[in-house]
Amino acid sequence: MGFAHYFRVWLSSVRYSIVRTMMFRMDFIMWSLVELFWMGVNLLLIGVIYSHTDSIAGWNQYQMLLLIGTSMLLQRLLMGFFWSNLFELGRNIRTGHFDFFLAQPGNPLFMVSTRKIDLDSLLNSFVAIAVIVYAVNKLGLHPGAADIVLYGVMLGCALVIHYAVVLLSVAVTFWLIGSEGIVGSYFTLFEFARLPREAFRGLKRVLFVWALPAVICSNIPAATLIGGFNPGNMLWLALTAAAWLGLAVLVFQRGLGRYSSASS
């Protein structure tokens, strides 16, 4: 099957998700509010800290806002496009409903990853974009078209990393049926994405900046808008994305081989 065909499959998933959201309007409003509020909580933390200091690891208030906005946007995009699909993948492996996806004519990973989208998260990604635009304005930056495209490409790489981390934590279910709690580690890991890379020193730098891919996901795109394009950083991000995605797909494929359904 070609790209066009997969795109059509994805479009019908989108259509299905929109219809579903329209059916549960109240849920949509409540969940949008919940996300909006949590984003506000993060912004308040920054507001409170900067009312007592001028800099966190060399980042001023609006640079920090840009960093937080970037990390919020990434998380909204992950939640919007992939989170519920991957979360349900874990459940489906446990219950045996995963059979249904295997029976579909298409790549199983594509089928499980794109079944629905969450409109509330996608709606809130505009709020995150507004935060970024506001911070860029306050910083007096004037990114050109090329900068914005580069920023977008980097966000794409970072989104791939987020996706790979969640997929990895879910794929563990193929081996450990009772591993429900592990998915939550995604949120723990990406809490680090709201911190400037310079704040990590010594062992913490090795662990959270170099080994685990959370910090660079938000820091490299944000630093590109603030300080200009750095090819080394771009390469670092792209290679990290490729490596983690490769690992996640490999583990998923291995898991598929182990999967033996769960019907009684």
Binding site: L33, S55, A57, G181, T188, F208
Partner: protein, 270 residues
């Protein structure tokens, strides 16, 4: 009186047993909270760089505040009590309590207390791992005598506030089919105004004073701030009065929701 105690002791013991089943869940959660502690230490150490005090408190005393928060959450925090109550109402399990001389609130709080024994004990785990690494950075106030004497009752009342708010949310099931989004929205408010994101005293003064009249302040910030020296004795005495008021007010609300809710409730089947 003794008979009443025996009755709820049975609920407590059942709660203890069923919560021990979830020990791995609690333990995993406690270990994840270690990572959260790393984030907190990194962020606040960077924020304090170049200044000895922020908002009148040293870096070490602020870090100590967050460290104390960690076991407190596991000792007095409400975890999924609201969902459990919601499930019992939806599934019709509460029908049996309507026929027996058992007070549902006391029954649930007995289970809550037993659950906190289990999770509270497991919270020691991450602390044992973290303590050797962070020991040098902890700074407790020297006047700990009165702080302990007033802090422990405040801690108990905090647990009551925590549980009773969760209980009230659970009872909303009488009116709404799905309470999950309410609970998560409220959790965000409680996390923020309970002082888990930042010590409330770092907010602008008027906001801090306003927060003292809200119940959230008494869920977590109040006991943690007593133990870590962020409040003086006069503030603590005043706080205890407001806290006691909130406990009574929330109990009243819980009773109201229960009696109103039961009128809407239709028990089906057996």
């Amino acid at each position: 009186m003794l008979a009443i105690l025996t009755k709820y002791r049975a609920a407590f013991s059942v709660g203890l047993q069923s919560n021990i089943i979830y020990r791995w869940n609690f333990a995993a959660r406690a270990l994840f909270s270690l990572f959260h502690l790393v984030v907190v230490f990194t962020l606040w150490t960077a924020a304090f760089a170049g200044q000895t005090e922020v908002g009148g408190f040293s870096l070490n005393s602020t870090l100590t505040y967050f460290v104390v928060m960690l076991p407190l959450q596991f000792m007095i925090g409400a975890f999924n009590e609201d969902y459990q109550i919601s499930e019992e109402i939806r599934g019709g399990l509460i029908n049996q309590f309507l026929l027996k001389p058992i007070n549902y609130y006391v029954y649930r709080i007995s289970i809550f207390v037993s659950a906190r024994f289990v999770s509270g004990a497991l919270a020691i785990l991450p602390l044992l791992i973290a303590l050797p690494l962070i020991y040098d950075q902890l700074a407790f106030p020297s006047d700990w005598g009165w702080r302990l004497a007033l802090g422990l009752p405040a801690l108990l009342l905090s647990a009551m506030v925590q549980f009773t708010i969760a209980y009230c949310f659970g009872l909303l099931t009488f009116w709404f089919l799905e309470i999950q989004s309410f609970v998560i929205l409220s959790m965000a408010i409680e996390t923020l105004l309970g002082g888990q994101i930042f010590p409330l005293d770092l907010m602008p003064d008027w906001l801090f004073r306003l927060s003292q009249y809200l119940p959230y302040y008494y869920q977590m910030y109040f006991p943690a701030a007593i133990f870590t020296g962020r409040l003086d004795q006069a503030q603590v005495m005043q706080g205890l009065v407001i806290q006691a008021f909130w406990v009574l007010a929330l109990l009243g609300l819980a009773q109201l929701l229960w009696s109103r809710g039961l009128r809407r409730h239709t028990a089906v089947g057996g």
